[in-house]
């Protein structure tokens, strides 16, 4: 199983900015973890270090059988194929079809000449279609990604991730570009992925209430350090102050019910 272990991990960017300092975490396979904190607190760095998009500069980070500090080239791509990622701005190739976007999740398993010609294997297309069915957007398979709404695009991005058949899904502010009702739909999709498929989900969130509602474990970050790690129910006013440096206001919660 793909457990994630941070052991005194530090990340320093080339410009000298410290993204993470001395982070020690143990995230067992199958968890649903919410990471909260102000922008610049290191949420994004934490998530991106897990699939090697941001290289760690000290400590030890293990994801399943892979050790991040040694992983390069082929091994890094192998690791990344087991870890899906969802982005704030969806990151779809907007000028091509929804199906082609989902098939990008299969690129690691596709030979170079097949990907150059766009000659996808039948099994991969089948996998992509069933991933689209899971997020209930399969009817749009042959439409251009740009013709979809923001919420629909994010669900296509989730399908792209599912097509990887990953053990871990990382979501970097997945609802920050969406309106409140759509945010809940996307969060519910992520919750279902975790509950139904047993995939570890780690999600960065700006709003504390979303994290409390959908995640079983909450990690609070401030200035590159983990300042809270526990169940959502334990995150009281005092914890909130330690994460955000001030008390809770109405601007920190997203109040709306899911609508389809």
């Amino acid at each position: 199983m793909a457990d994630i272990q941070f052991n005194h991990v530090g990340v320093k960017y080339p410009n000298g900015f410290v993204g993470l300092s001395d982070v020690t975490l143990d995230i067992p396979a199958g968890s649903m973890v919410g990471v909260v904190g102000l922008s610049g607190a290191g949420k994004s760095t934490l998530i991106r270090s897990i699939n090697g998009l941001v290289p760690i500069s000290s400590g030890e980070l293990n994801v399943g059988d892979h050790r991040l500090s040694n992983a390069r080239g082929r091994e890094l791509r192998q690791l990344r194929s087991e870890v899906g990622m969802i982005f704030q701005s969806f990151n779809l190739a907007r000028r091509t079809t929804v199906l082609n976007n989902v098939l990008m999740g299969r690129l690691h398993h596709t030979s170079a000449w097949r990907s150059l010609l766009g000659a996808w294997q039948h099994d991969d297309v089948e996998l992509a279609m069933s991933a689209l069915e899971r997020v209930e957007i399969v009817s749009k398979a042959y439409e251009k990604a740009s013709s979809l709404s923001g919420g629909q695009q994010q669900r296509v991005a989730i399908a792209r991730t599912l097509a990887q058949q990953p053990q871990i899904v990382l979501a970097d502010e997945p609802v920050a570009s969406l309106d409140p009702p759509t945010s809940h739909v996307v969060m519910r999709d992520l919750q279902r992925i975790n509950a139904d498929l047993g995939i570890t989900v780690i999600v960065n969130l700006h709003f504390l209430d979303l994290a409390r509602t959908y995640c079983t474990r909450l990690i609070g970050m401030r200035e590159g350090r983990v300042v809270f790690d526990g169940a959502g129910a334990d995150a009281d006013e005092r914890v909130f102050e330690s994460i955000y440096g001030r008390s809770l206001t109405a601007a920190d919660v997203l109040e709306a019910k899911a609508e389809l």
Partner: protein, 270 residues
């Protein structure tokens, strides 16, 4: 109201005075004018000479305004050859350029040395004038359409690789990052995530190159590389300005027709 007061302290909320630019503009224009005059002196432009030789020119200009339409049938093969050369060169040149462009963009090639090397070669190619390329190739493979096509192909690679790689540089790399995060290699990610994004730009650059080729293929013939240029060289050296006039008219029509066709096509594509 209190929120606004708190946000904008008194000093921060005063409208600024519009900065004055006039002095800079005048200075810039003066410098440009000085450079132009200095450059003119450098190449020894002699304005009185033009006036003195004006009578010589009048005869030629009058002949140029009277095209010899009877010469038309003899120009047809060269005219067709010019268009053929432009079409073939555009197809081959743009096909070769597309993959190279991906290796010449920072967005799709992480290897700095390969990137720099390729960009250097492309700059080198672009710095050679097309007519010089044609002259060299005529010396290598002999007179005819072949050296002309080869010159245009090389010339086109220089242009298309630059324009398409710049389109790639300016493209949002989010989808590419997503493909990399899914375990794709840079090559596969470029093909799947970036190619669809730049296809309209690529199509537009190919058509633009086709327009350049039409114009260029009429000129490179002057050094023996096929097309209308050879014909121009022949009639000009025998001072047959009535016939030269017809050829110029044909080039004008050809360029206008094909450019409007390509503009129409470009609009439909994008």
């Amino acid at each position: 109201m209190t929120a606004i007061g708190a946000l904008g302290a008194v000093t921060a909320n005063v409208r600024p005075v519009k900065p004055r630019q006039r002095g800079k503009v005048v200075a810039t224009l003066l410098v440009l004018a000085a450079i132009t005059v200095w450059a003119g002196l450098g190449v020894q432009i002699d304005l009185p000479e033009i006036v003195a030789n004006f009578s010589n020119a009048v005869g030629n200009v009058v002949q140029l305004t009277q095209p010899d339409y009877g010469f038309f049938p003899k120009t047809i093969p060269a005219l067709v050859e010019t268009v053929d050369m432009a079409v073939i060169a555009t197809v081959i040149g743009s096909a070769i350029s597309l993959p190279i462009a991906f290796f010449a963009s920072r967005a799709t090639n992480p290897n700095t040395w390969l990137l720099m090397g390729l960009r250097f070669v492309m700059n080198l190619i672009r710095s050679i004038p097309d007519i010089l390329l044609a002259a060299i190739l005529v010396a290598v493979v002999g007179v005819g359409a072949l050296p002309g096509i080869m010159a245009l192909v090389i010339f086109n690679i220089g242009i298309i690789v630059k324009l398409v790689s710049e389109a790639l540089d300016g493209e949002d790399t989010g989808p590419h990052e997503a493909a990399l995060a899914a375990g794709a290699s840079w090559l596969k990610a470029g093909r799947s995530a970036m190619l669809p994004q730049i296809l309209p730009a690529y199509a537009s650059q190919v058509l633009y190159t086709f327009e350049i080729n039409i114009r260029a293929s009429t000129v490179i013939g002057l050094v023996g590389a096929g097309g209308l240029g050879i014909l121009i060289d022949n009639v000009r050296s025998f001072f047959r300005y009535h016939e030269l006039s017809l050829i110029i008219l044909e080039i004008l029509l050809l360029v206008v027709l094909l450019e409007s066709f390509s503009a129409w096509l470009r609009k439909r594509l994008i």
